[in-house]
């Protein structure tokens, strides 16, 4: 059924169609509307047998989800930003214990300095914790990915994060096609846990494992995640057939046929990137796009195959590994290592700075001429940065950096 609704509402309705049995809720922007809507749906009796638990923190949200999942319940929660960080220890536990929890991350920057706006720093900071990470391009894909995520999580007995851009998607009203309960039921089987705490057949979950077996357990965690690389495309195809639209998969090629320059990106910015690339193509530029739908596990083969014909690659990413540069680009470089292909890294949209088509076309044009620095910060005010650095060189007690940058930014320009 076609609806014009907010992204958060769309995700909440999709999660409800997945018949969750435990929902742990703790508010944090920009995720709050999702659990609020789910709370309303549970209170109205629209989700059958489901317990909605208000917890006291994000750490508790994940801990309760772990307990619920270990007891055999289909468990869901959502968070963002510092909330995800506060869960960090429990995230590793959920993955290490192999519990198929599904969580929405409404992507947001990490402080300090305090910033409530969108970028990908939060989920990127947890990329190695053992969770599968899927990234949504639109609200339609966000809701579709949740339906796929429960099936994937439960088949592999691994937790799945569905990442969607905070505010840009969560707070956007756009058209979505909401599936019926029958469609979702036909795609997503009843939860049959691979492990469960059952008084009738007692087991322990969470044993201490010493050096004699820890490597093997970790190897299996890796091997199990890599199994997702075959399951994800297979189920994306099945989903496409059953629901009549493409969603998910490992990577999403766009206009790649003869592309010499390929832009790699994740999440909602892909829409703006495609619009930018269409205009450049109309001007004769051989340029294409590769969307990464599945970031963890990293789809080595699919990325290598899709970038096989590229003469240069631009990785556009909303996160920064301080002291390194890009995060996604590091993965792309590893994938392409055998070939001498330049991989340019464009860091953009940090802390909610708008990524405009005009700015993108400028850096893409520089890349096409191989005139781009290996790492570029989109729309960086280099003069401002230089003034702040100069002040540091001149003054010992130069003061706090963020405040200094704000002072420069809001300074009245000399006339």
């Amino acid at each position: 059924m076609l609806k014009q609704i907010e992204g958060s509402r769309a995700v909440a309705e999709a999660v409800a169609l997945c018949r969750p049995e435990v929902i742990c809720a703790y508010p944090i922007s920009p995720q709050t509307h999702i659990v609020e809507a789910l709370g309303e749906l549970v209170a109205a009796g629209d989700i059958g047998r489901c317990e909605f638990i208000n917890v006291e923190s994000e750490f508790a949200a994940m801990s309760v989800a772990i307990g619920a999942s270990a007891a055999g319940a289909r468990a869901y929660t959502a968070t963002a930003s510092q909330g995800l960080l506060f869960m960090a220890e429990a995230l590793f536990n959920a993955a290490g214990l192999g519990l198929p929890i599904v969580m929405t991350v409404a992507n947001r920057a990490i402080g300090a300095p305090i910033n409530i706006w969108n970028d990908h720093t939060d989920s990127m900071s947890q990329r190695d914790c053992g969770w599968i990470q899927l990234f949504a391009e639109t609200n339609q894909e966000a809701l579709d990915l949740h339906i796929q995520a429960f099936r994937l999580a439960e088949e592999l007995s691994l937790p799945v994060m569905v990442c969607m851009d905070g505010f840009i998607l969560t707070h956007a009203y756009e058209r979505v096609d909401m599936p019926s309960q029958a469609q979702v039921d036909a795609f997503l089987p009843k939860f049959e846990p691979r492990q469960v705490l059952d008084p009738a057949e007692p087991v322990s979950i969470g044993a201490m494992v010493g050096p004699e077996a820890f490597t093997e357990v970790r190897y299996l965690a890796h091997a199990k995640q890599m199994q997702a690389l075959s399951l994800i495309p297979a189920w994306a195809s099945e989903f496409h057939y059953a629901f009549g639209r493409a969603a998910g998969g490992l990577v999403r090629p766009y206009a790649l046929e003869d592309a010499q320059t390929v832009i790699v990106a994740l999440g909602s910015v892909l829409g703006t990137v495609k619009d930018a690339v269409d205009e450049m193509r109309a001007n004769g530029e051989k340029i294409g796009v590769l969307g990464i739908s599945c970031f963890r596990p990293w789809p080595f083969e699919a990325v290598a195959h899709a970038l096989g014909g590229a003469k240069r690659v631009v990785v556009l990413e909303k996160s920064l590994a301080v002291g390194v540069g890009g995060i996604v680009s590091t993965n792309v470089r590893t994938t392409l290592a055998p070939r001498p292909v330049p991989v340019y890294d464009v860091i953009a949209g940090l802390g909610g700075r708008p990524i405009t088509k005009a700015s993108l076309q400028k850096v893409f044009a520089d890349a096409v001429r191989d005139e781009l620095n290996l790492t570029t910060f989109l729309d960086l005010d280099a003069a401002l940065v230089e003034r702040v650095l100069e002040n540091e060189r001149q003054v010992r007690r130069s003061g706090p950096l963020p405040e200094n940058v704000l002072k420069e930014r809001h300074a009245v320009p000399a006339r």
């Binding site: 076609l2 014009q4 907010e6 920009p30 409530i116 706006w117 969108n118 505010f167 840009i168 707070h171 956007a172 009203y173 756009e174 058209r175 909602s268 910015v269 892909l270 829409g271 703006t272 495609k274 619009d275 909610g352 708008p354 990524i355 405009t356 088509k357």
Partner: protein, 189 residues
Amino acid sequence: MFQVRIHGRGGQGVVTAAEMLSIAAFREGKHAQAFPSFGSERTGAPVVAYCRIDEKEIRLREPVMQPDALIIQDPTLLHQVDVFAGLAPGGTILINTSRSFEQLGLKELIHRFRTCTVPASELALKHVGRPLPNAALLGGFCALSESISLDAVVAAIREKFSGRVAEGNAAAAAAAHQHVAKEIHAEAD
């Protein structure tokens, strides 16, 4: 693609206005995307929301920087924010005020843009009982821009609100529509 930017203050239903406009466009079979300019929401602080309308899927996610139409929910913003920034030549401006463009000191805009004012807060006070101008402005906007029908806007109002609030806002939208239609007619004569 038709792009609308709505300026107002926190508490005036700016974001809801953009959302209702997108619902109205959706009801007319169009693709629409509504989103706020995200910030720390505070009552009274300047707020901006956007709505894009198109016949095909909208992929662009940048803020609306060159709007085809502006709805200004609070005329005091004229002295605080560059509300007219980027407005396309010949674009539409609707301002919530009981005064005219001349009285607002905006006479020079009349010839460059399609302009009108409507006392939306007063109409809302009369029909809804609270001076929340957003729904009324959308009604007026239908008459001015002709990009969307009053019926679709009223349906969107009923989707967002219920009961007496919905009916009051629908009546305010209809009254604003009538007001703007009359103004345009008077101008044409």
